[in-house]
Symmetry: C2
């Protein structure tokens, strides 16, 4: 255990708050509930951005940008939507020194303003589908905030699509859920459970909401991305109509889907340990750090030179840094980079130069087991392979942890015990009132009704009524 960091077992929440700041991911700002994303944390977000953006474009989407401000009256056009968001709004009442005629809301999400524009742009079935994504900041006035997990302002992407048929919109909703799951598993190395949100957890204004749910190392759930089938609700509220192929006026079918800077928090809480962050190689701002080691001043120049050569050879293949800082011991540097979660460390000393080797240490495997000699001639081949091995290893570790913390339960008592340490999985046929009772009595909620179902029938774990679906239950961030 690092002596500057609270251990996870002692207080996971405190561990999280400490490591986010110590590793320079983020800082508190003077504005209540807003965060400052520091360069190291922002670079992680840039990697998330790039990997998601690539997937969005590969599935036919384009980016655009809509205004930050939304007239208050727009939100009121969709009744469930305004009810869901009105307690969280930040409102601009003055502009250019004068009071505004109509207050402007700082966007909490953009269905309404985008719906307004789509109504203008979409006239005919030939204009469909519209497949637009936006990278933006949004504001939700949260009472209890935590860096990355719940902040008044956060960064995200929000996809907004419009389709000619219900089937196409449903297909899009599930396609983007797949994109999120694929990103989470392959890039963030986070196993996720894709599923449908229960009635009380769905997005304000949606017909159906889908989610990918991840399990953090304290056994709690984190909703890592959502995809909503909005039916014709927003099309009717904003008059998004088109002439179909038979020249009949129809309402469009719309979807929306989002993933946010919350994903940074998910990475921290899925992989981190008592030494600090453990970053998945695909997202790590620095994948490899080279630490030069010398005892005598006479060794310094040769060691630094060798370090620079190794850096140069790797620089076109991966994200590599050489730690040339003066006045810090190699041991101090090891701890520092471990705390920052760099997946792989290369140590170079005089003997390594002599033997034409480098010593490599894996962040995910502590002690001697994680260390190995790599011939200097083989670094271009072996270092990228090692990074892929780490990516896979931390994913498998997270899967094993998650699976060992999901309990199949068939009684409410068992469920109560299970959600103290992880997820419970059980038959479920509850309604909104049952969900409220469950939350009240256990602090847990229905996290999702998984897409993959066992089939067959059972009895609802809460009510005993006949049930055809199993749900995942857990306490959530």
């Amino acid at each position: 255990m690092a002596d500057f960091l609270t251990s996870q077992s002692e207080d996971f929440s405190k561990w999280y708050n400490e490591i986010v700041q110590k590793a320079d991911l983020a800082d508190y700002s003077p504005v209540r509930g807003c965060m400052v994303i520091k360069p190291y944390g922002y670079t992680l977000w840039e990697r998330i951005h790039d990997e998601l953006d690539r997937r969005f474009k590969a599935t036919g989407h384009v980016n655009a940008y809509f205004p930050l401000f939304i007239p208050m009256s727009f939100l009121e056009k969709e009744s469930e939507h305004v009810e869901g968001f009105s307690p969280e709004l930040a409102v601009v009442t003055h502009g250019g020194g004068a009071e505004l005629e109509e207050p402007l809301v700082v966007r909490p999400t953009s269905e309404t303003i985008i719906g307004h524009m789509y109504a203008k742009w979409i006239q005919s079935y030939r204009d469909l589908p519209v497949l637009i994504n936006q990278w933006a900041n949004v504001v939700r006035w949260e009472l209890r905030t935590r860096l990355f997990l719940r902040t008044t302002e956060f960064l995200w992407q929000e996809g907004h699509t419009a389709h000619a048929t219900r089937a196409e919109a449903v297909e899009e909703t599930l396609r983007m859920l797949d994109v999120y799951a694929d990103f989470a598993m392959k890039e963030a190395a986070i196993p996720v459970l894709p599923g449908r949100k229960s009635e009380s957890e769905k997005f304000a204004g949606a017909v159906a909401s889908y989610t990918i749910e991840a399990m953090m190392k304290d056994g709690k759930a984190l909703q890592a991305g959502t995809s909503h089938f909005l039916g014709q609700n927003f099309a009717k509220a904003f008059d998004i109509q088109f002439l179909d192929e038979s020249n009949v006026l129809q309402y469009a079918w719309t979807t929306s889907w989002g993933m946010s800077t919350r994903m940074v928090g998910a990475v921290v809480m899925t992989h981190g340990d008592d030494q600090g962050l453990v970053l998945p190689p695909h997202l790590a701002p620095i994948q490899v750090v080279i630490v030069p080691i010398w005892r005598k001043d006479s060794e310094r120049a040769a060691v630094l030179d060798a370090g620079r050569q190794v850096k140069q050879r790797l620089a076109s293949l991966l994200r590599v840094e050489l730690d040339e800082r003066e006045g810090y011991s190699p041991g101090w540097k090891y701890n520092d980079w471990e705390m920052r979660g760099v997946p792989l460390r290369i140590e170079i000393g005089p003997r390594d130069i002599e033997n034409q080797n480098v010593m490599v240490a894996r962040r995910d495997t502590p002690g001697r087991e994680g260390k190995m000699l790599v011939p200097m001639s083989a670094i271009e081949a072996q270092i990228p392979e090692l990074l892929e091995a780490i990516q896979l290893a931390i994913y498998n570790k997270a899967v094993a942890f998650r699976d060992s913390h999901i309990a199949d339960v068939d009684s409410y008592e068992q469920l109560k015990h299970a959600v103290e340490v992880g997820f419970a999985r059980a038959w479920w046929a509850g309604n909104i009132e049952d969900e409220a009772r469950l939350k009240d009595e256990t602090k847990a909620t229905v996290r999702c009704i998984p897409i993959e179902q066992p089939g067959g029938k059972g009895r609802c774990v809460l009510t005993g009524e006949p049930a055809t679906e199993v749900a995942i239950f857990g306490k959530a961030y």
Copy 2:
């Protein structure tokens, strides 16, 4: 002249407003002064983003993100700053259903909130320099707005750096001015004049402001990017202090620099013509469009197949689209893509397949001169070369236009005439009052005092006083 577009000579301003909308760059939003950046315009911005971001990182900068909201009291800490920005502020007075104790300003620029954070982060000379850039939206309550050129909300990047010495901060200010000039010339193909802002045109709170000034096709000036040496003004206002190597407490020296979505407007007004946009190949969302041509239905399959093959061969080298739309004639498609400014069009018809050629048409060279046959076997080699030739040609054309619209004048009367059609260049030794008089009488302003000076001495064009510098004068956007 395209019949759907006002000609530039008839009404340049109307031409601009029309083409920005017709080419799907942007649209008006229901919120006063805010714009919607449509996918085609946003993709252009993404290209600007990527080219700038690459240059920022190559000069040692990292990205971070600071809050959208700034306490009103922060702006008041730097007296010139608050005086400059207070007429333009949007103010949040309510959050989460309650009135706020202190109103929050929606950032018009971030010197103040970033200054506050730097004061916390910077303790020692070892913490310097801090070289951070932010990509963000900002809000300035403008009275008269125009898409891209002046909007209430716009997207930009703002660099904010802190240094141990005055010399380093000045060097950084000029380095980033160089980066902007390099980007403008090499990527946007816009010739710019780098120079110092006059006293009345400088940034609110800066010691000195630098700018790159571009000339639009109507002879007016557009400030395309600015870089500010802030001295110790913000360091003193926000208490950014550090212990130097002699353990003496010093105030840091800071800079800031920004370029915005305005650059999209600059691209439109530098290169566009009566047929529509002319986009520089380095920034064009689509660099090459392939238009398949057939008369008989029996030719259709072979032509489309050839088009797809050409697209596939070029796709890894450049941004290429195949126009497979049904129900539009080739001629209609030519006009459509010309209007959208795609640099190069490839036409493929049955005879081209037979002869193993493609017909290529340059957007920047109208008529027969811009058309040529390229052997099918040579497209990978010749098409990218042609794009580079276009990039250079439109830059040279813009330089020629600019240079033929700058008049060296030595009387105030000549200056008045010159700024009706372009820029005037003249000796200048005016003060703030002289600048006010100049603007009042001519509607022109000192655009910049160019970095490159002729040397020697002269008489101020306005006052007749001895002058050691020449300035550029023009009417500005």
